[in-house]
Amino acid sequence: MTEMWFLATILMLAGFTGYFAVKGVTPALHSPLMSVTNAISGIVIIGALITAGSAETQTVSFPGLAAIFLAAVNIFGGFAVSQRMLLMFKKKENTRPEQKGEKQ
């Protein structure tokens, strides 16, 4: 019973933390925000590793293993596509010399 309330407290605190962290995100980066949160929601892989890794029988381990695969797709794909997007956001100074080079 106390444990349930302990977890609920964590839920509440995480909700506020998430709210304030996300509020600070610039609208220009909303797409990367979605792919980053997508990647980190792949954290369910921990649950998958625990269920599949501690399973004694095949029937239990199969859905767990499939979940490991799916969550890994999420994690690696999500972070990779975020990094690709974020690398494209450049300041003026970085793009200028390149343009001059093209012109000459």
Partner: protein
């Protein structure tokens, strides 16, 4: 001792995830943020593998590696214009993973019936809803709302059935009820997203994003894992905030978006009330001439730019105007332009537009008055002045870009049709507005060829 180390690792990784999101506050810190997120993930996975109850490592790592490969390949290959469907697909996989974990937990005889029921329902809806969103964005299904009579009643009935099965499972511990409700929730996800049209996708994707987070949090409760609860909740909050911002930018409620069918009852001909209205058609030659003699040009991109892949040629046009003719060029983005939050920003960034030149609606709206040219490419509803004046319009109250206030406005469009909302845009008939009919990319190419002559 090892348990303490693992808990400490989880604690650090939760902090790293929060810092990863904090990093996105500005493009300068965003990349570092993403790297912190990656570090947090490696730490969490690595620590989990040290749990004493875990065995058969070979199998776990094999599936992990296979998933990594399956994720990395499309992530590096995907074109930036196809990002929305990719994000939808990833959301769906996350949901499905949550479903499978709950399933495994129940098969293993878990006592956490309420927690697993909730996470399996949310995960299933996230999964199947994302499948439909993906199919619509990928054009495997028509982008327009798919509605049929009794749809909402059917959804309601199905929802009640799923809820009923959930209660039955929790009370009677009958595992079959759990399987049934999983299937029911999957069908519910399909039905929920079918009636939602293409331009509402930014909201749908944000909502599905939130669901995949809440499903993770639910699993945290069933497995008693604090890290899952923290991360899942943060992701859930993030998706909720994004969907709130998106619906706000359309002046619609979340329920009106999620019920779907928007833009179907099109008012066919508003101009039928007698008055004769003429449209001015321009050509790329004139547009190029007017823009190169302008002091300030504001470019308003919309989904049409993405569909035509016109972002690179648009950047060339902006560059030419700036460097050859000394024109002040800015880009104005409406929050719901495109098919996901921030879609236009990513495409412009891809085309090497420095982010200092890209402005959000509230930061640039006052500048249209002082602009010589507004170049609206593939956008319509987000510039419609009726949103301000016509209280009966379905888009009334939606904040719009006041492109019409520029001295001259060019609309690059395929035809004079209405936008997604089905509302006619009176700007098309204004004196200072010229239509440039054609494909967004082709028209801009022609302008560039004149500019570079």
């Amino acid at each position: 001792m090892i348990m303490h180390l693992i808990s400490a690792a989880y604690l650090i990784s939760a902090a790293l995830f929060i810092l990863a999101i904090r990093g996105l506050a500005s493009p300068e810190t965003a990349r570092r943020g993403n790297v912190l997120g990656i570090a947090g993930m490696f730490l969490a996975i690595g620590a989990t593998l040290f749990l004493p109850q875990i065995h058969n490592y070979a199998l776990l790592l094999a599936f992990l590696a296979a998933g990594a490969a399956a994720g990395l390949i499309p992530a590096f290959k995907v074109r930036m214009t196809a990002l929305p469907q990719m994000i939808a697909a990833f959301n769906g996989l996350g949901g499905l993973a949550a479903v499978l974990i709950s399933l495994a937990d129940i098969i293993a005889g878990s006592e956490m019936r309420i927690e697993n029921t909730l996470s399996v329902i949310i995960g299933a809806v996230a999964f199947s809803g994302s499948v439909i969103a993906f199919a619509k964005l990928q054009r495997l299904l028509p982008a327009k709302p798919l509605v049929f009579p009794g749809q909402r009643l059917l959804n309601l009935a199905l929802f009640l059935a799923v809820a009923g099965l959930g209660i039955k499972f929790v009370v009677s511990q009958e595992v079959n009820a759990f399987y049934l409700l999983t299937g029911g929730a999957i069908v519910l996800g399909f039905l929920l997203v079918l009636p939602i049209g293409g331009a509402d996708m930014p909201v749908v994707i944000a909502v599905l994003n939130a669901y995949s987070g809440w499903a993770a949090a639910g699993i945290g409760f069933s497995l008693n894992n604090v890290l899952l609860i923290i991360v899942g909740t943060i992701v859930g909050a993030s998706g909720m905030i994004l969907s709130y911002i998106m619906t706000k930018a359309m002046n619609r409620s979340l329920s009106s978006v999620m019920l779907g069918g928007f833009g179907l009852n099109k008012e066919k001909d508003v101009s039928a009330n007698g008055e004769e209205r003429t449209v001015r058609t321009g050509n790329p030659e004139d547009a190029a001439f007017i823009m190169k003699n302008a002091n300030k040009v504001i470019i308003v991109p919309g989904y049409g730019m993405a569909a035509a892949q016109a972002q690179h040629i648009l950047r060339t046009m902006g560059n030419d105007l700036q460097q050859k003719y000394g024109v002040d060029v800015k880009y104005a983005i409406h929050p719901v332009a495109g098919r996901m939050p921030g879609h236009m920003n990513v495409l412009l960034a891809e085309a090497n537009v420095p982010y200092e030149e890209v402005f959000e609606l509230e930061d640039i709206n006052r500048e249209f008055e002082t602009a010589d040219v507004a170049y609206v490419i593939g956008a319509n509803d987000v510039t419609n002045p009726l949103a301000k004046s016509d209280t009966t319009s379905p888009i009334y109250g939606m904040p719009v870009l006041e492109a019409g206030k520029a001295k001259t406005v060019f609309f690059v469009k395929r035809s004079l049709g209405t936008g997604y909302s089905g509302v006619e845009n009176p700007l098309f008939f204004a004196d200072n507005v010229f239509m440039l009919y054609g494909d967004a990319k082709k028209v801009t190419e022609e302008i560039v060829s004149v500019l570079e002559r």
